[in-house]
């Protein structure tokens, strides 16, 4: 534990308790190796930053799957955003998104060629930019999971200005978990469900996946002790042969989730199939803007043909990393030719990407 002194009532980092968890995990180590997959960049940061892998018993692996929205945004959507920007539209998006390579260029490179690309922290900032630039078209390139999508929905439903458009590339987590676990050859023993996605959708949203695929799913918070607790619950389920949804983050997650946010999502979007970079199409894993709101839908109002792109830079293992079949250190380019300053693949760009997190927190944190 690096920060034993609590500075907020919500910091759960007591080293004594962490040691207690570590010995509990050791006592209940499974007989055979198990791979536990989380799908959240913030989990990966907490695990790497606090060295939690060093507390896991032999044979227990925790990997980040497709937990970085920036990393899984397909090149088609990126290429669309770049074309729009080069065509004279103001493109607003979250910071990391501007540095991810599409088929040819990044949004940041398009900006260097004169395109108007702006970094925003919130979808409502993008609508504000549209209000301030009535003579220009302003596109919000919307990425993110169920945590981010309600904000986009709220803006879409709040009569945004006529010159405002959304290029929606939001993704849904439960269908991705189903796709990962349905896909041999690597057996995923259990999932840690992302805490704040779960705040929105509720722990109950994972039950169909847990039942259908017989896989334990434990909702986990972000403090080091939250994560150790969730792993302890996973190991206990595995030991007892159960495959259930358990909520290890009840202070932020209920069974039903945030109903208000769910209503916003349902009013603004409908589910659609979506392409995940490095993984492929996952049925029902995307959100399409509802036809009633099509005047704000960039794909409808400003159609641009996407380039048919090379999805994977040569030698990059990102798709294996996103499928939880490899860790960044397995990639020969990691820390060699691929670094945050000159990233080869999207997993090194997104600050929630596994390669980026491992680079920042010292390479192989599970030694």
């Amino acid at each position: 534990m690096t920060e034993p002194r609590p500075t907020s009532p919500f910091e759960l980092r007591d080293p004594g308790q962490a040691r207690e968890f570590a010995s509990l995990l050791r006592r209940h180590a499974p007989p055979d190796p198990v791979r536990i997959v989380h799908v959240c960049g913030t989990h990966e940061m907490a695990i790497a930053q606090h060295g939690l892998r060093s507390l896991l018993p032999e044979g227990v692996e925790v990997l980040e799957g497709p937990g970085c929205p920036v990393c899984v945004t397909p090149t088609v959507d990126l290429d669309r955003a770049v074309k729009l920007a080069l065509g004279g539209v103001i493109v607003c998006t979250f910071g990391d998104m501007t540095r991810v390579p599409g088929t040819r260029v990044t949004l940041a490179e398009a900006r260097a060629h004169g395109a108007d690309v702006r970094v925003v922290l919130s979808p409502s900032d993008a609508a504000e930019i549209a209000r301030q630039n009535p003579g220009r078209r302003v596109v919000f390139f919307a990425v993110g999971f169920e945590t981010t999508a309600p904000g986009t929905a709220a803006v879409l439903l709040d009569s945004p200005p006529e010159n405002f458009l959304v290029l929606a590339s939001h993704k849904l987590i439960p269908p991705a978990l189903a796709a990962l676990v349905a896909e041999p050859p690597v057996r995923i023993a259990a999932f840690l469900a992302p805490g704040h996605v779960s705040t929105i959708i509720g722990a109950g949203a994972y039950r169909p996946v847990a039942e259908r695929y017989r896989v334990p799913i434990v909702v986990a918070g972000f403090e080091p002790l939250d994560i150790l607790y969730a792993i302890a619950l996973v190991l206990r389920q595995l030991r007892e042969g159960r495959a259930e949804v358990e909520n290890a983050y009840p202070r932020a997650v209920t069974e039903e989730g945030n109903r208000r946010a769910q209503e916003l999502l349902a009013q603004a979007f409908e589910p659609s199939d979506a392409v995940w970079r490095g993984i492929g199409t996952i049925p029902g894993s995307g959100l399409r803007i509802r036809p009633e709101l099509s005047r704000w839908d960039a794909t409808h109002e400003l159609p641009v043909a996407a380039e048919e792109g090379e999805d994977k830079p040569a030698g990059c293992l990102c798709s294996e990393v996103l499928l939880a079949r490899a860790v960044p250190a397995d990639c020969p380019l990691f820390r060699a030719s691929c670094t945050p300053l000159s990233p080869v693949g999207p997993c090194m760009v997104g600050s929630e990407g596994a390669c980026n997190v491992w680079y920042r927190y010292g390479g192989r944190p599970d030694l």
């Binding site: 409502s124 993110g144 309600p150 904000g151 403090e223 607790y229 302890a232 202070r251």
Partner: protein
């Protein structure tokens, strides 16, 4: 994008709250929340929108859950299933 740390509400004006994010003031929208918010409350915030109100008492409850697990696992490696 995801702020794991709760923010504290400093002021509130209709649909918008001013919060303290580790010493920095930020404005967050409350329309995705569906809960009442008062000054002094803690909020989970994501990309400019509050998604949940947190109660410090619930953090203490989490600690109690940990203790429960330790006690349960102490002498009973194959104890009863989770509540």
């Amino acid at each position: 994008m995801c702020l794991a740390v709760p923010t504290k509400v400093l002021a509130r004006e209709g649909n918008v709250a001013t919060v303290d994010v580790q010493g920095v003031r930020a404005r967050v929208r409350l329309d995705a929340l569906g809960e009442e918010v008062q000054v002094g409350d803690y909020l989970l915030v994501h990309a400019g929108f509050a998604i949940r109100r947190l109660d410090p008492a619930d953090a203490a409850e989490t600690l109690a859950l940990f203790q429960e697990l330790f006690a349960l696992e102490e002498g009973a490696p194959s104890g009863p299933p989770a509540p």
